[in-house]
């Protein structure tokens, strides 16, 4: 059979990027995240349940089903990162978290570099299929786990949610003030140098594309430092140029035009 394995060609692409002067890091993203073939089915089955939940029409059995599906989706999404060789699930009476993924080979190190994870460590993911936004308590608890329990092995915390977190701007909004869990997110980041990011259902719906998980996480992580007050763009969207009106004519990078 012709061709070479997925891992080998991805490693060759990494070597190719390293040997290309002025290469864009993002060029490698499609080779570093391949969504599992079942992600599309999960999203298609879950979206009607999410809409029913938002309308307050989900019964308890459906609510539990949605929670389980979000946990399963977390596994399907994060095992799609290249070179993941550790997947652990935790549920204990003490610190409870859902999933830990990590790796050790060159492609995982590249994923960590793109996600600005220090010390090339793992990612801790917690799924919350709540009808309300998650709040301070949840971020503090995950921050405590990152600080005290998994300090040497985890460099990024991720919440998969339906409605996001309190104090975070929604799509189409700009929120320059710091409120609620957004303050906690910043405090944890500056204390630990470890970001905790929150994905909502609209973010998650965009993750069935090659590279999308890395793109979205990277935009969320960058936003913690940039503090524009805008929600990071969804997976398929170009990043908008955020400048005062008087400076825009001077900028050589043009913002995307709205679709006709």
């Amino acid at each position: 059979m012709s061709g070479i394995s997925k891992g080998d060609i991805a490693r060759t692409l990494l070597a190719g990027i390293l040997g290309l002067d002025g290469a864009k890091e993002a060029t490698l993203c499609p080779a570093l995240y391949t969504p599992d073939g079942r992600v599309g089915d999960y999203l298609a089955k879950m979206d009607p349940l999410v809409q029913l939940k938002r309308a307050g029409k989900l019964d308890s059995a459906q609510t539990q089903q949605l929670g389980y599906m979000l946990e399963e989706l977390a596994l399907l999404l994060f095992q799609g990162l290249e070179d993941v060789d550790v997947v652990k699930s935790y549920q204990s009476a003490g610190p409870q978290h859902d999933l830990l993924v990590s790796g050790s080979d060159s492609l995982w190190l590249c994923v960590c570099k793109l996600l600005r994870i220090e010390h090339f460590s793992g990612i801790l993911i917690e799924a919350k299929a709540w009808s309300e936004k998650i709040g301070d308590n949840e971020l503090q608890r995950l921050g405590s786990i990152l600080a005290h329990h998994l300090g040497q092995t985890v460099g990024l915390g991720v919440f998969l949610t339906l409605e996001g977190a309190s104090g975070f701007p929604a799509q189409g909004e700009q929120s320059l003030g710091l409120r609620h869990s957004r303050v906690t997110q910043l405090v944890i980041y500056h204390a630990l140098k470890k970001p905790i990011v929150v994905l909502d259902w609209e973010d998650i719906m965009g993750l069935n594309e090659a590279g999308a998980l890395i793109t979205v996480l990277r935009r969320k992580i960058d936003e913690i430092e940039h503090m524009t007050g805008l929600p990071p763009a969804l997976a398929g969207e170009p990043v908008e140029i955020l400048l005062p009106e008087r400076m825009r004519p001077l900028c050589s990078i043009k913002p995307p035009q709205p679709a006709p």
């Binding site: 059979m1 012709s2 061709g3 070479i4 394995s5 997925k6 060609i9 991805a10 060759t12 692409l13 070597a15 190719g16 990027i17 040997g19 290309l20 002067d21 002025g22 290469a23 864009k24 060029t27 499609p30 080779a31 995240y33 391949t34 969504p35 599992d36 073939g37 079942r38 992600v39 799609g80 594309e209 090659a210 590279g211």
Partner: protein, 119 residues
Amino acid sequence: MSVFSRARIPSITDREWDLAAGLFRQKGAAIGPARLRIEAGLKREVACSLLLGIFEEGQADLSFLVYHDCSEHPVNERKYIDGFQPVPWRCPECEQLVTNENELRYELRAILRAPIEFG
């Protein structure tokens, strides 16, 4: 004719550069690492640097050819930006459900949008 700068690939030799340049003068040419190795002596990593470079500059369409155990020929082609073949996936050649990604293999292929001059 668009220009690709040699400065972007510091490790390429004069001879490799000259031999590779001849392959990129024809619009629509299909070029992969195997051809670059055979006709220009490029190592796979250097060939990837070159193909990714012309892809970044919009000079070529880059894709993955997907091979399955069942055939010597590619059974699918995916744009580079669409990434690797997700599994589970039903092979269009043998119609078997592929659940193990180790059954699949890949090769890169660039199709030139226009002749490229190596500068």
